[in-house]
Symmetry: C2
Subunit: 247 residues, 2 copies
Amino acid sequence: MQNAIIIIIGNEILSGRTLDKNSNFIAGRCSKIGISIDEIRVIPDRVKIIKKTILEASKKYKNVFVTGGIGPTHDDITAVSIALAFKKKLVINKKAKQLLEDYYKSSKFELNESRMKMAYFPAQSKLIMNSVSAAPGFNIKNVWVMAGVPKIMQAMFLEGVEPRLKKGKVFFSKTLKIEKPEGDIAEDLKNLSEEFDSIDIGSYPFYNPPKIGTNIVLRGKDLKLIEKAIKKISNILKQSNILFSID
Amino acid sequence: MQNAIIIIIGNEILSGRTLDKNSNFIAGRCSKIGISIDEIRVIPDRVKIIKKTILEASKKYKNVFVTGGIGPTHDDITAVSIALAFKKKLVINKKAKQLLEDYYKSSKFELNESRMKMAYFPAQSKLIMNSVSAAPGFNIKNVWVMAGVPKIMQAMFLEGVEPRLKKGKVFFSKTLKIEKPEGDIAEDLKNLSEEFDSIDIGSYPFYNPPKIGTNIVLRGKDLKLIEKAIKKISNILKQSNILFSID
């Protein structure tokens, strides 16, 4: 079973200033390549906490996806924290240095000491390249560290992380939407989830009057079984004269 | 120091199907009432995991805010998991039962057995009422359990949770926005953060070409000190001919 945790590093998420969209992107991609996201954590920009969280996560999960804290400023402390976690030195990476030199030579900005910080990684890290920015992310053991800026993070994940991950069996997901509150079909769903216990059957009410209803989501690795369960619940809904759509 | 963890219970977030907006709402409110959110966790709909996570969180943090899993369907297992965590029985709450009976009497829906599940809580829980839906959330020890549906969760937090929380000293936050990459001012920010070490100074680049720049966020409990730091960084930016706006 391929599983993973997503760790979002960033005070700006914890303060409510910024809405985290990175974990949703990574989770969505992982569904498509058969990796189960078992946990998401948002933690502050603090060396001790990052170090401890990464170390525990690396032992517990097959993959650890990390975003944030790899830029040039004083609050970018992810690389040093992970070096400490794995008892590695923080060393300059020649390829990353070259990338930064090439990029800043052709830009109007200066490759100053702060920016050169972005060429330092825990020893034995591999770079995670991307086509949007010059500064790379890095991979060490089962930990994949990406930028916090969504556009850059997404490029890193799609180009530099996903192709190197061990894929699992893809998850299939089907949604039945009804314009009834979930309490009307709770008993049927309970029976269904007992009968199809290898399918994850979720009931998600929505409440935005006048739009009130429920999305019934069936998720699992056996598409035929999902379709069988969909058929069964469709018949029940028809018998109860409840309208539904399938997505 | 008033601190808290937010625990989001929901497979739909972990699968990437749904973007969690509840933690952002709670975090934003907590900033305004001086409660520091030290961690956010998203965990699956699994009794064992919910039980363990709540128990640990309840010991570690002053407040534990939980959303999700309190509806009428088979996947709503938050109340039973928390009862197990605190070794309490799951008991019917007369007031909640009355609320449900009143609501369903005047609605076109039936108060069936599944819906009656929403009147059961860990013994000694207090109800969290809200003006949007009939079914209440609950509070036990330092744990506050709210609905997963954003509109209902928000009503519960604002009406039934926030008024009962012990407030801390409010956080003030000021943002300086520049249209330069953060590497240009990293050295200055480092010095500033060392000089003003009781202020949390964050540097948040944005990258949506042609919009490229940095938000410098100063956050802390001493407004005068923040203003002093803002003045200092403003002068530095002026000297470097970097345009900025303050928010």
